[in-house]
Symmetry: C2
Subunit: 257 residues, 2 copies
């Protein structure tokens, strides 16, 4: 049985196989039962949690590299990753941290090591139902788990900044793009949909305004059934009108010109 190389082993002798200067980092947001989380990884010998990220093979498309890196480092497959920003500050790398991490693992890297050079990183993000996602870190040296986004204070290098920018992007997109498909059950109530928005925005919304606005987008179908079993009046169930939902994904919730 051949042992797959660990990420650290690949890193240690990665020069020549990776495109220099360019890296990528993935911000995977997870939603489940009114909680918004983000997937972070960590080498067991360090205290630094980080976004799952990696490098681009010399003959590999950038977007394919993002999919591969995410799969290798977390086990996650088949999710749509979207570019959201390139982080290109000349001062963004703090490779002292990286170097000391390697040292703890018994890997000595010199000052001219390719990994200590400057990298410009492309940020990718996705939002998934995290109960449906099975994460398996790539090697025994990595931990991988969902963190409540409000718990996170510090991350490896500028990863907190990258996470914050992804969260800003997600929140801004709520103003003009539909959301909810694959995050909610196929039939859901208006309060459940509202809770999704409130969780992402981290604030409460007015119930009647929300319902009026959401109905106005024309992407919902109100079903004949109601949700049974609560103490209150049984709320109506809705589902997305997928034809209109997909159209709104392309030209925005408010329609094109």
């Amino acid at each position: 049985m051949t042992q797959q190389k660990t990420f650290r082993e690949v890193i240690a002798d990665g020069e020549g196989i990776f495109q220099p200067s360019v890296s990528l980092d993935c911000v995977i947001f997870g939603f489940h039962e009114n909680e918004l989380k983000v997937l972070l990884i960590k080498a067991k010998s360090t205290d630094h949690w980080a976004l799952p990220g990696g490098f681009v093979f010399k003959d590999e498309d950038l977007d394919d590299a993002a999919t591969r890196v995410l799969k290798e480092r977390t086990g996650i497959n088949d999710i749509f990753l979207q570019q959201f920003h390139v982080f290109g500050s000349a001062k963004r790398s703090d490779w002292n941290i990286h170097r000391s991490n390697f040292k703890k693992d018994g890997i000595e890297i010199g000052p001219d090591h390719w990994l200590l050079k400057r990298f410009i990183t492309v940020g990718y993000y996705a939002l998934v139902e995290f109960a449906h996602v099975i994460t398996t870190p790539d090697s025994s040296s990595e931990e991988c788990r969902w963190w409540d986004i409000n718990e996170i204070e510090e991350l490896f290098m500028d990863h907190k900044q990258i996470l914050d920018k992804a969260l800003d992007t997600l929140r801004l997109q709520l103003n003009h793009l539909p959301i909810g498909y694959n995050l909610l059950p196929q039939k859901f109530t208006m309060p459940e949909l509202q809770k999704l928005y409130e969780t992402i925005l981290n604030k409460t919304l007015d119930r009647r305004n929300f319902q009026r606005r959401m109905t106005g987008f024309g992407i919902l179908k109100r079903l004949k059934e109601t949700r049974k079993g609560g103490a209150h009046r049984a709320p109506f169930l809705y589902s997305f009108d997928m034809r209109k939902y997909r159209k709104a994904l392309k030209q925005g919730l408010h329609g094109g010109w």
Copy 2:
């Protein structure tokens, strides 16, 4: 008097001063009197028009590099460039074209030249009033001019694809972000504003729908004056309510949650 190095001279011995693998390209859209143009440059010895682009110095922030490159290659200063996409296909470079261009200029570059390696390029774009923009190509070897976007069939390498993606981005943004400040005179008529949208979208819009929708955004102030001198009934003049315009730039024309 020291002669500034030409772009081609810098390119010829650029290894060691530029960040490897990473380039950037600028799509500068220009609007003036109901025409939408894009700024292209060309080396005089070649037939290939290209987007103004360049490389990142090793100690330079990526966004600063975009501003510098645009200034060096076109003379344009002080415009807000926005990242819109990273082009990272492994097959995007066609350096045979580049190599033969250099040859015509008497610069021989070998197969291991840094310029012939793979580059991942970051696309930046801006939309300006082109009558206000003075373009001055950086050296005698470059031409620089505005092209009608409908005239353009082929460009250097994948630059046509980059241009198309920028145009798609601009058109989608019209659905949820305000536009017009700095492109229209301070006081303008509704038909003039409509014409701006029609020019960018390359289609005609219904006059009454446009007016109703545009008024609904709340970013316009109708002035007491009218535009005098036409054959028709004098149309009202408008200006942007800049406080609301700026707010809409941040959270979208339809407001935040």
